[in-house]
Amino acid sequence: MEDSGPRKAIGFWILVASLVTSFAWFAYPLYVIRPFRHQGARELAAALSAIQTRPVVDVICVVLALAGLASYWRAQPRRPRRILAAFGTLTVGAFAALSQVNVYELMFHPDTHPLFAAARQTKVDPDDKVLAVKLGGSVRAYPIRTIAYHHIINDVVGQVPIVATY
């Protein structure tokens, strides 16, 4: 009879490695790139690198976690441990899914389809500040109390694609 011990151990450690890796790629950028924290140049570069490699790393982690689970499941006779391994695999998937969420746009919702009104039909207090631009004969103003929330407005003014930021 085949000894299931090595297969169980390999499946277990593949699953653990996938879980740790997917957690690291999910959590490290969140830890580094958060408000009111000093970002060092190296750690910021590492965090951005993790974000950029995350789609590939997440796919690898999910595939390996499933393979590890299958191996472990076949070799592990105890049901509670099987369920725990399945939960670990689901957690890998959960980290991969959560990595797709842009938390910054949950805090400050984007204005993806900016709309504009004529200056004289706009209810903005006279002493409120605006960011103003004039391009190709077109004139636009972005009230700062509005753009300071959205932070970014992708726009086209006078046929020039611009991004207004605050």
Binding site: F36, R37, L48, A118, T122
Partner: protein, 252 residues
């Protein structure tokens, strides 16, 4: 404000993070990350590229509307209006902590002091916003070039100009002529007439100048001064990205 084009691509940006309290943007097209204040790509396929700066003004709405009655204004997104900044948001922001300091008590600069940053003529220079608003007109140099910072008739908008008049030799001195006691910065009717009216005079052309930097009379009538870009920023942020900046101090 930036032109959102790079490498032949029109880019669409999203808020994507923060770097020492200056935000990062990510473009949909390449997944590159860009620093808001510098317009530089800091990660991704376009790393090392820079966006092209678009000149803009920070003005009070009343003054802007008086200058540009046919302009258009970004509308609020109704479902988020309760989240928008409140009327006193600038005062509230002053209380927020910073992760960098660069405090300079000798120059009266705290991390969150508002400065008007000028990057021109091979140099960077910061002007305390409060100081400029108090002085109304600042004549200074950035690098070796004369620059004037002018407060608008609304008492809060600021523009900067190169202190040379095209076609005339020499460095003019400018004087403010607006009677501040007559100023009614929240009165749209008053702002509409003040927006294009004389605000300054100079001793070289003998002419009067408005807030758009254009001569209304004198030898330079019809000529406009060259605009110099001004960025309104917190001192810590300006200093972080302009380590060689000098700071204007009022000459007593």
């Amino acid at each position: 404000m930036w032109k959102r084009e790079s490498g032949g691509l029109v880019l669409t940006f999203h808020l994507a993070g923060i770097n020492n309290q200056n935000f990062l943007m990510r473009d949909d097209q390449t997944g590159s990350y860009w620093q808001q204040i510098t317009g530089a790509a800091v990660a991704g396929p376009l790393k090392g590229k820079r966006l092209t700066w678009i000149s803009s003004d920070e003005l009070s709405f009343g003054l802007w509307e008086a200058e540009e009655p046919n302009g258009t204004v970004l509308k609020d997104v109704t479902k988020y209006t309760s989240d928008y900044e409140k009327k006193d948001w600038e005062a509230q922001m002053m209380k927020e902590p910073t992760v960098l300091s660069f405090a300079n008590p000798a120059l009266g600069l705290k991390p969150r002091s508002l400065v008007l940053g000028v990057k021109a003529f091979g140099a960077s220079r910061a002007f305390s916003y409060d100081e400029v608003v108090k002085e109304k007109l600042v004549l200074d140099h950035v690098g070796s070039e004369p620059v004037l910072l002018v407060v608008g008739p609304d008492g809060q908008s600021v523009r900067a100009f190169r202190g040379r008049i095209r076609g005339l030799e020499g460095e003019p001195s400018f004087y403010r002529t607006l009677d501040e006691k007559q100023s009614r910065p929240t009165d749209l009717a008053w702002l509409r007439q003040a927006a294009s009216a004389a605000l300054l005079m100079d001793d070289l052309s003998g002419g009067a100048w408005n807030f758009e930097g254009c001569a209304l009379s004198g030898k330079a009538k019809g000529i406009c001064l060259e605009r110099v870009d001004v960025i309104k920023d917190y001192w810590f942020d300006w200093r972080n990205y302009n380590p060689g900046t000098t700071v204007y101090a009022h000459k007593t």
